[in-house]
Amino acid sequence: MPLESRTLRVCLLLGLVSGCGPVVPPVDGLPMFCTPITDDASVKFSVEPAAIDVCKGRSLIVANVSWDAPQTRDGVRIEIDSKLDLERRVFSAGDRAGSLPTGAWVEPGLCFHMFDHDSGRELARREITAAPCP
């Protein structure tokens, strides 16, 4: 039973109470979900517009994604997936803060996930919704 995890080996040897490096949950195979999570208080993450007026016949729009995660070491990674397409794609990676327009492919059900690039922890998520018809 070799101790292969460097992180844990260091923790075991030193018995540190904290600061044992990044904690990354296992990839269990379940899809990423877009149910709301509590954002890390230090981050800002927005997708504008967040709702699409489908009643006017619009379904695909261009949105602007902005983020600011000053406490991350190696910046953030923004991934997208959709209720219709569970495969996740990387939208942006690397910068701690920034703003980037999407193409004209944003539709209701699309989910933007922002991760700490270093630890892999999900910091925030935003779902594009359909605006209710009047």
Partner: protein, 697 residues
């Protein structure tokens, strides 16, 4: 009270007894006995008659040597016999083995000439919990290894062990000879408390969480530390570990051994604490009887919930503090007790905060800071395993608590809190605890018992009197208030209730005539016994009636009545022991070798998956989830949701068994009911971090 005028003595006595008539009226006014099943009190009366009969037979049997000392021994024999009959003989046998093992380890740490066997026992239990706790992720927990170590331990320490056992036996007989009636009362109260041991494991948390560790050690000989599937997987686990050890020694799930030990530890703790507070032996036995009589004491016999153990350990800890007086003469033992408290529950910090500050001051004044460091170091090593693994796996030592601070990615960035128990409290809190208990837990009014209210004048006596009892009472009142302020859940303040009641008995013992004290304690014991059914929705329907009438099959009948998912799992285990199960509507996972995943708040990812899948009426998302989790069998409530039923039908799953409102679904073709357990393996943190090269289990 020599030299005090008679009118004054009677006046003080009347004041001290004032709560009793008030409680007597209130018990009926608040209809606390309404839930009392007629068969329950008849069973108690029959038990009492058996006790009298056993005592009489024993008294006659000893012939010319007739001594009243046989009465409590016969009563104890009867309690043990009834426990063997209704809880099974294995439980007490393994309890005895565990006791011997712990005592042997205790004598190793505490080889001094005249230490208390109880202190040695607790130090030993703390060491066992620590050793097993630190090695949990490693595949070394084989019953044969445990038996070998046990045999080795007993062989090596037998010479130190026998004098302690002999000394305990002598102490019992001495007390039995000098205080037979008091001791018989305490044994009778303990007998009522053992009713909890009779019950099979029905508690929801036991079946949904506590038994996971036992199941995994029994099936796979290591613990997966799988915090993804169970958020409490790395919470302080000393109690679960000890239960798992007794299960490995029993060869099957076994709650009775450790629950019985904790009951004994608590009863003895009340006695020892009272003696440490300079109470007479009779008063100390009264304190033990009162501890045994709390309805919650019986409750803790029926569950793996930890607060009963905490109460017991805390009483011994208080006793050691009182006797040690800040000199820290046995720092490793004190550290072991602290470590045990830390290993049992992180919120015990509220209980040990003041004594730690007191120890710090005394260590500074007495120039024994080095010994205090030993105390702290021993506590950290002995109680630190779960905290260490919690940090290593999740980054949060008290996961899932305070996650807004520690920001573990395994749980939302919120502070875990059960908002059901935020009912608030005011100056009537102590009264409400007894007469409006349902506000503070899943229980009925009266289940906190009447001891605390009845004994409050005794507590006042101790606080007014300038003795150690004052400080113990104030410490536990403050700690209990702090705990209750944080969360108004009555189970969590049981340790405070137990110790303050003990101090109350000591106070009354100093002020009342012994015969009057006996009547007060007897009244408390009787009323508390009659309030035992008020504990839970299960006890209120008198499961003991079934156990008594059906004897050997009673436990199964009781289980069917109260834990349908557990019954389904047990049946499925017989039919398909290698099945992988997904429990959709009931998060019961126990008794299935750790092969069950449950959709519940305990598993935030699967809980999210449920919400995600349920909004897709086509059932496609459910199929996606089921494909990832890969269960061969699924437990759902009938009728199931539209989306899930559609998914199961599309996958050619059909109901194959049912119990109450639950159904087990599996593939129509038994040959296709297979599972790889990939999902569990991916979430297996022990495997992921400590033995990644192991093949599939």
């Amino acid at each position: 009270m020599t030299g005090t005028p008679a009118w004054r003595t009677s006046g003080i006595a009347a004041l001290l007894l004032l709560p009793l008539p008030i409680l007597g009226v209130a018990l009926f006014q608040y209809r606390l006995f309404d839930p009392l099943p007629p068969d329950f009190w008849r069973m108690l009366v029959r038990g009492l008659m058996c006790l009298v009969l056993a005592a009489t037979v024993a008294w006659v049997a000893v012939g010319k040597r007739r001594s009243s000392a046989v009465v409590p021994s016969a009563a104890a024999g009867l309690v043990i016999a009834l426990t063997v009959v209704y809880a099974g003989p294995g439980g007490l046998l393994v309890a005895a083995l565990l006791l011997l093992a712990a005592l042997a380890m205790g004598t190793w740490i505490e080889p001094s000439a005249d230490p208390s066997p109880w202190r040695q026992l607790l130090v030993g239990l703390a060491l066992i919990a620590a050793l097993v706790g630190w090695t949990l992720p490693f595949q070394v927990h084989y019953p044969v290894l445990y038996f070998l170590l046990l045999a080795l331990l007993l062989a090596v320490r037998w010479r130190k062990l026998t004098p302690q056992l002999a000394s305990a036996s002598r102490a019992w007989h001495a007390l039995a000879a000098t205080h037979p009636i008091w001791l018989t009362l305490a044994v009778a109260a303990t007998g009522v408390a053992t009713l909890g041991l009779w019950l099979p494991t029905l508690n929801f948390d036991d079946n949904a969480a506590h038994l996971l560790l036992t199941d995994q050690l029994l099936a796979e000989n290591y613990y997966r530390l799988d915090v993804s599937s169970q958020i409490w997987a790395v919470a302080p686990w000393a109690n679960n570990v000890l239960h798992a050890v007794s299960a490995l020694l029993s060869g099957e799930e076994a709650r009775v051994p450790v629950a019985a030990l904790w009951l004994a530890v608590g009863v003895a703790g009340a006695y020892r604490l009272a003696r440490a507070l300079d109470a007479s032996p009779a008063t100390a036995i009264a304190a033990a009887a009162v501890y045994a009589s709390h309805p919650l004491t019986a409750y803790y016999g029926s569950t793996m919930q930890v607060d009963g153990a905490v109460a017991g350990v805390l009483m011994h800890f208080a006793c050691e503090l009182v006797r040690d007086r800040g000199r820290l003469l046995a720092p490793i033992s004190l550290g072991a007790l602290l470590g045990l408290l830390a290993g049992l529950k992180s919120s015990n910090a509220a209980y040990v905060l003041l004594p730690l500050a007191w120890l710090l001051i005394h260590a500074w004044r007495n120039h024994v800071m080095a010994r205090l460091m030993v105390v702290v170091l021993a506590a950290a090593v002995i109680g630190g395993a779960s905290y260490f693994y919690a940090i290593a796996i999740t980054g949060n030592p008290v996961f899932p608590l305070f996650n807004s601070i520690f920001k573990s990615p395994y749980f939302p960035l919120t502070d875990f809190h059960d908002y059901r128990w935020d009912s608030g409290f005011g100056w009537t809190a102590l009264w409400d605890l007894t007469f409006d208990t349902g506000r503070f837990g899943e229980t009925y009014a009266g289940s906190a018992g009447i001891a605390l209210l009845a004994l409050l004048p005794g507590v006042a006596v101790e606080i007014i009197r300038r003795g150690t009892g004052r400080w113990v009472a104030l410490w536990l009142l403050a700690a209990g208030a702090l705990m209750f302020w944080q969360i108004q859940y009555f189970r969590y303040v049981f340790p405070a209730i137990a110790i303050v009641s003990t101090v109350g008995v000591v106070g009354l013992g100093r002020s009342l005539d012994t015969r009057v004290l006996a009547l007060v304690v007897a009244a408390i014991v009787v009323v508390n016994a009659l309030l035992v059914p008020n504990l839970t929705w299960m006890t209120v329907s008198d499961p003991w009636k079934t156990l008594v009438s059906e004897r050997s099959s009673g436990a199964t009948t009781v289980q069917r009545a109260y834990t349908a998912p557990r019954v389904l799992l047990d049946r499925l285990h017989l039919m398909a022991p290698k099945a992988c199960v997904l429990a959709v509507d009931e998060p019961v996972v126990a008794g299935f070798d750790g092969r069950v995943n449950a959709i519940s708040n305990y598993d935030p990812r699967l809980s999210e998956a449920y919400a995600w899948a349920e909004v897709d009426a086509s059932g496609h998302r459910w199929r996606e989830i089921l494909h990832v989790v890969g269960p061969s069998h699924i437990i759902v409530r009938s009728p199931g949701t539209w989306a899930l039923t559609l998914a199961l039908t599309a996958m050619d799953y059909v109901p194959i068994d049912s119990e109450a409102t639950l159904q087990v679904w599996a593939h129509r073709d038994p040959n296709q009911r297979s599972c790889t357990r990939d999902f569990q393996r991916r979430r297996d943190e022990a495997h992921r971090h400590f033995h990644p090269d192991d093949g599939p289990h």
